[in-house]
Structure formats: structure tokens, C-alpha cells
């Protein structure tokens, strides 16, 4: 398969995916979890009474504070996740009293986060993403500093930056869609997942780039840039797939057997890893070729 020859197909497909993701993100918006926007999440499990319904809980909560904005969702392990605006301890106890009339329950988890902490975490998260994007790109530009011919090292950095952007925007777009259709929220874990995806997806990119660098030195003048890039992709194909596959095996195992609270965290990393592997072969290398060619002229 000649990836460089067919680059327009791959780049076009990815361009469309990224565009679609950006449209989803900006039109639907991202549903923020309580740790980013502030609010209360309360997870309770009725031990004896299994007939409790979501609406009963809602009713009981409303009996304390009539017009409160409350949502109740039953999770897969039969516990209820109750969402409320920021709640102080007095209110928490009042709700607890009201719910005890339904039956005895165990409080698995209660967190109430003020809006200032949420806003702060949001700002920090955005900075963290920018730092990682720029940090990794700069490192790549630095690591490849010794190859300036025919592709100068800063171009490796720029291509990495574009590839990383591709790798994080697709899972984010997917989560925007899931937020709209399923009410899935993004939280700190999601931000962490994106950062991890960046760190991982660049692994494969480095492997391919490293081989391109090596082949550029050994085959200089004997082969065209297109064939060098193609040859490098083919030579490293198996290892790109295998290194990602070992990670994917672990991720799938965590997704299926791991704790439910980590589901979307693992899910985001999984999607990001799959696209990251794809992008290092089908996006980063063609982009590097284009960057290298433009330097020729």
C-alpha cells in the first residue's frame, strides 16, 4: 500500500473527522461534570429495599427543597447517582433524613464542589493540555535537531503538533456527542485521559519518524523522499501496531472488568490510542512528506 501516493484520501478522511468533531464540540458543547462546573454528586445504595425508583428519590429530595434542580440516575450496579447544585452539610443531612423514610441506604460517595474550585480546575486543565501539546512538540523538534536535511527538525515538531491535535479532537468530539445523546459528562479524568493519549500517541509517531531519519541518512540521493517515507512506514508497521496492541489489550481488560467509575476514562484513552496509532502511520508521515517537499522548492 502506497501511503504517500494515497495521502489525499487519508488526510482528507482525517480532516473531515476532525472537522466533524470540532462542529460537534462547538455546536453541542461539552457537558461538564461537577468537578469542573461545581455542584453535588451523591451516590447511594439501598441495601434492603430493591424496589426504589428514580422518581421516588426525586420526590423525597423535592420534599426538602421544592424547586431544586435534581437529577437521579440508576447505575449499572443498582446504586443511584443523585445530582444536585452545590449542597452544604445541613442540606445534605436534610436530604439524608428524607431518604431514610424510603429505606436504609449506604452512602457510597458524596461530593460537593464549589464553583470557584471548578472554574480553577477548568483553567488549569486547559493550560495542562496546551503545555503538553507544546512540550512534546518542542521535545520532538529538539530530539530530531541533528537531521536538518532535507526535512528540518522544527517541521517534525509542527507535524507532531498537528497529529496530536487530531488525536485529541476526535475523542473530544465523540464525548460531545455522547454528552448530548447519553448525558455523559466530562470531568477531570477526561482531561487526564486526553493528556495520556497525547503522551502515548506520540510513541508510534516517534518510531516512524526515527526510521525516516535513519533512512534519510542511509538512502540519501538514492531514493525519493516519497519512497523513503513509504519504506519507513512499511518497515515499522508491525511494531507500531504491536506497541499499541499491548496497550489496547490492557485497556480493553480494564474496560470490561475494571471499576465502573473509570469506564469513560479508559474509553477515552482507548479511542485516543486507536486514532493515535492510525494517525502516526497515515497522518504524521504524509504530513512530514508534505512539509519536507515544501522545503525543497
Amino acid at each position: 500500500m502506497d501511503i504517500i501516493k494515497n495521502r489525499k484520501i487519508f488526510l482528507g478522511a482525517s480532516g473531515l473527522l476532525v472537522l466533524a468533531s470540532l462542529v460537534l464540540i462547538f455546536s453541542l458543547g461539552l457537558k461538564q461534570g461537577i468537578d469542573l462546573k461545581g455542584g453535588t454528586q451523591w451516590q447511594i445504595l439501598f441495601k434492603d429495599n430493591t424496589n426504589v425508583t428514580e422518581s421516588v428519590i426525586k420526590e423525597k429530595i423535592r420534599s426538602v427543597l421544592e424547586n431544586i434542580d435534581v437529577s437521579v440516575k440508576k447505575s449499572s450496579d443498582k446504586s443511584f447517582i443523585i445530582r444536585l447544585p452545590e449542597t452544604d452539610e445541613k442540606e445534605h443531612q436534610a436530604y439524608r433524613e428524607a431518604l431514610l423514610s424510603v429505606g436504609n441506604f449506604e452512602e457510597q460517595n458524596f461530593s460537593s464542589i464549589g464553583p470557584t474550585i471548578g472554574a480553577e480546575l477548568r483553567t488549569k486543565s486547559i493550560w495542562a493540555i496546551i503545555f503538553v501539546l507544546v512540550g512534546i512538540s518542542l521535545y520532538i523538534a529538539y530530539a530530531f535537531r541533528k537531521v536538518s536535511e532535507p526535512v528540518s527538525s522544527w517541521k517534525y515538531g509542527i507535524v507532531t503538533l498537528i497529529t496530536l491535535f487530531h488525536d485529541v479532537s476526535i475523542p473530544t468530539g465523540l464525548l460531545a456527542y455522547l454528552g448530548w445523546s447519553q448525558g455523559i459528562e466530562i470531568d477531570t479524568n477526561f482531561i487526564v485521559a486526553l493528556l495520556v493519549v497525547m503522551g502515548f500517541s506520540v510513541h508510534d509517531t516517534i518510531v516512524v519518524f526515527d526510521r525516516i531519519r535513519e533512512n534519510l541518512i542511509t538512502s540519501r540521493g538514492k531514493m525519493s523522499l516519497a519512497s523513503i517515507v513509504n519504506k519507513s512506514i512499511h518497515e515499522t508497521f508491525a511494531r507500531s501496531i504491536n506497541t499499541s496492541l499491548t496497550l489496547i489489550l490492557v485497556l480493553v481488560s480494564l474496560l470490561v472488568l475494571g471499576p465502573s467509575s473509570l469506564f469513560y476514562f479508559i474509553f477515552t484513552i482507548l479511542i485516543g490510542t486507536v486514532f493515535g496509532t492510525y494517525s502516526s502511520i497515515f497522518i504524521a508521515s504524509p504530513l512530514l512528506y508534505i512539509a519536507g517537499k515544501s522545503g525543497d522548492k
Partner: protein, 417 residues
């Protein structure tokens, strides 16, 4: 071959260390060794509460803020210690302009009580009355609970009505003298937690200052019941807060819920590791077996390290470690693929292995450094829960470079001829 022989003691040492680490980590194997230095479990796994308070520093000089925050921390710690929490952590967190107090109460049974007790610690201050047009306003003075030395319940010598007697420290006595001097024949009001305590509602019947009070001994008289007077005195003695606090974040996790999540994560991690090893053996045959052995050593050594240096293990930290298992073999894959290529070129097995390690090194280094960059950013820019993840991922990557390169190479050098 002589190279290989020289590596035998090294390999034996590493294997012994790994076995020891395994025993140290996995409790059922040998309980005495394992419980000698227990795991440091985070709140989400051990169960417990994380309480974050905003400290209101608006009335405190910027020069004094650090010492006030420290004083506040000490007071809250004293209170928290009363609940019988095994190892409470109370610390100050600075974030931009705001100063916060965080209390981590692992394994606490009754959080509601704890919150009540912490919140109940009174903030005491003295206010002077100023005329503002036709109404009066109470203006806080510089005198507040942080200057309080001790308090006790007393009784009015003639009426026997309970009262609160208190002693101020040297600095407080000075301020009190100034305030009273300035307000002779004027009222001074005493507030606890922003509520006037004398009298219960109207400001205009606050005690009138008769003369300048020096020496720092004073009495709060009023219509206290004995119970109320005692309650206030107890709290004042346990430590009046030097600055008001406000609960802005509360997270409570049930211990059973935490251990169940941990259990699930560990099973998933064990299965994941097993599948990765099977994959490596199927794809790389003999090489895969060696990679599998060093992966198991990686798991034992890393967990041993985490336990030894008492890293706080959170659920996300465990997840980070499990992910690092999936990445730890990456270096091996790169080396083995390279070795395969060198074999095709006609090199001997031993030479191909050496070349494989040498040539794959740059990729391994660069990709691991990019993960380290990510971990470092994560560590410095987010909350404490994420820090656990970042730290385990970072250390995982460092140890994996050692296991995948040094250990695997030692095994290969000894066994591949």
C-alpha cells in the same frame, strides 16, 4: 559469551530483589514482611472524606497570612485528632489569591459529626459601633480570637448569672487596651461566627466600655444559660479560629465502595498483564518468554517501589500503573522487531540482539520522555487525585525503561548464543 557469564550474578540479584518485592507487596505470601510497611491508600480506596475550606483572609494583613494559616491548620488538626481518625492530614493549599485548608480524613466513620465539629470552631471578634446616618453599624476591630489565651465559665459575683471570662495574650491585651481607650463610654460588641452574642439581637445594648481595660483580662456577661456558656468556652479553648472558614468542597467515599473498585481494577490489571504476556509469547516466541519474565519483574519491582516510598495509591493511580504495564513491553517490541531485521541482514543471533538494543534506543528514549513530559505536567497542574496517577505513571515509565532494557538484555545475553 564471557559478557553473558558476568551478567549472571546481576540477574540473580535482580530476580531475588523482584521476588522479595513481590513478597513485600502481596500480603498473603508472607504477612510479617508485608505488614511491616503497609500500603498508603488514598481516600478513594481506604474510604474517608476530603474537606476543603476557603480561608477568609480579607481582614488579615498580607504579612500575617502565612502564620494565620499555620495557626488555623494547627487548631483544625487538634480538633480532627479528637475524632479518632488514624492518620488525618490537614494542610494549607495556596491557589492564586486564595488560601485553602484541606482536611483528609481517611477511614472516618461519621463525617457529618466531623464537619459539624470543624465548622463549629467559633470565630470570635470584637466590633465597635459607628453611627452611619440614622442607623448604627458594627465595625470589626483588629481584635479577634487569635489573641485569645484561655477562657472559662465564671459567675457574676452578685447575680450568679453565668458569664465567660477570658484572658488575652500580650499582643491582644495591647489591642484591647487601644480599642477600649478609643471607645470609652461607647458600646463594644462581641461576635461569634458573625453573630452578636451580647445581646442576642440588638446592637445598641452592647456592653458600654467604662474605662480603658489593660492587662488583657475581660468578661463577657449576658443572658447565657450555663450550658451555652460552657459550650462556648469549650470551643474557645479548643482553639478559636484565627480566620473564618467556609466549606467549599466535600468528597466522601465509602470504604466498601473503594475496596470494591480496587478489587475490580486489580483483577482487570492481572488479566491484562496475562494477555499481554500471552501475546508476546505467541508473536515473539522465545524472545516473548524473556519479555514476559521481565514484565513480571517490572510489576513486582514497581509495586515494591510504590509501597516502599509510601506513594499514596488512589484508584486512578492504580489505573495509571496498569496502563504502564501495557507500555512497558513497548521497548521490548521495538528491540525485538529491530533484532528480527538485523537477523534478516545475516547477522548472528547474539550480534543481532546487541544491534537491536542499540538501534531501538533512540525511539525508546524519545517516546518515554514524551510520557514523562505528560506526567510532569499532570503532576503540577491538577488536583491531588490526579497527582497519584501522574506519579505512578512517571515512576512506571522510569522503571519500565530499566526492566525492558537492562533486565531483558541481561537475560538475552546470558541465554542467546
Amino acid at each position: 559469551m564471557s559478557k553473558g557469564k558476568r551478567l549472571v550474578p546481576f540477574l540473580v540479584f535482580i530476580i531475588a530483589t523482584s521476588v522479595f518485592a513481590g513478597v513485600f507487596v502481596y500480603q498473603p505470601l508472607w504477612e510479617k514482611i508485608s505488614s511491616f510497611h503497609p500500603w498508603n491508600l488514598g481516600l478513594d480506596l481506604a474510604g474517608g472524606s476530603l474537606l476543603t475550606y476557603q480561608i477568609d483572609m480579607s481582614k488579615i494583613n498580607s504579612a500575617d497570612r502565612t502564620s494565620v494559616a499555620q495557626g488555623l491548620r494547627d487548631v483544625i488538626e487538634k480538633r480532627v485528632n479528637l475524632f479518632g481518625v488514624s492518620e488525618p492530614r490537614v494542610y494549607i493549599q495556596n491557589s492564586g489569591d486564595s488560601t485553602r485548608l484541606v482536611a483528609e480524613l481517611a477511614g472516618i466513620k461519621d463525617v457529618n459529626q466531623a464537619i459539624k465539629e470543624i465548622g463549629a470552631t467559633p470565630y470570635l471578634d470584637f466590633r465597635e459601633i459607628e453611627q452611619d446616618g440614622s442607623s448604627t453599624v458594627a465595625i470589626p476591630t483588629n481584635l479577634n480570637g487569635r489573641y485569645l489565651k484561655s477562657a472559662q465559665v465564671g459567675r457574676d459575683p452578685t447575680t450568679f448569672v453565668p458569664e465567660i471570662d477570658f484572658t488575652l495574650n500580650e499582643e491582644g491585651a495591647k489591642i484591647f487596651a487601644e480599642v477600649t481607650k478609643k471607645n470609652i463610654n461607647k458600646p463594644i460588641c462581641i461576635f461569634i461566627d458573625g453573630q452578636p452574642i451580647i445581646p442576642d439581637s440588638e446592637t445598641d445594648s452592647c456592653p458600654i466600655v467604662n474605662s480603658e481595660i489593660t492587662g488583657g483580662n475581660a468578661r463577657i456577661t449576658g443572658r447565657f444559660s450555663l450550658d451555652r456558656a460552657q459550650a462556648i468556652v469549650q470551643r474557645l479553648n479548643a482553639g478559636a479560629l484565627p480566620a473564618p472558614i467556609n466549606l467549599i468542597n466535600q468528597q466522601t467515599i465509602n470504604a466498601d465502595f473503594g475496596s470494591e473498585s480496587l478489587h475490580k481494577a486489580l483483577i482487570a490489571g492481572a488479566l491484562g498483564t496475562f494477555i499481554v504476556i500471552i501475546f508476546m509469547i505467541i508473536y515473539y516466541r522465545t524472545f516473548g518468554i524473556f519479555a514476559g519474565i521481565s514484565l513480571i519483574m517490572y510489576v513486582a519491582l514497581t509495586l515494591g517501589l510504590f509501597k516502599l516510598i509510601s506513594i499514596t495509591m488512589t484508584l486512578s493511580g492504580v489505573a495509571g500503573f496498569i496502563l504502564s504495564i501495557g507500555m512497558a513491553v513497548d521497548a521490548n517490541i521495538l528491540v525485538f522487531e529491530r533484532t528480527k531485521e538485523e537477523l534478516k541482514k545475516g547477522l548472528s543471533k547474539a550480534a543481532a540482539v546487541e544491534e537491536g538494543f542499540k538501534r531501538a534506543w533512540t525511539s525508546i528514549r524519545d517516546s518515554n520522555i514524551s510520557t514523562m513530559i505528560t506526567s510532569a505536567v499532570l503532576y503540577y497542574s491538577t488536583s491531588s487525585f490526579v497527582q497519584g496517577f501522574a506519579l505512578t505513571l512517571f515512576l512506571g515509565v522510569v522503571v519500565s525503561m530499566f526492566s525492558a532494557i537492562t533486565i531483558t538484555r541481561a537475560i538475552l545475553r546470558i541465554f542467546i548464543k
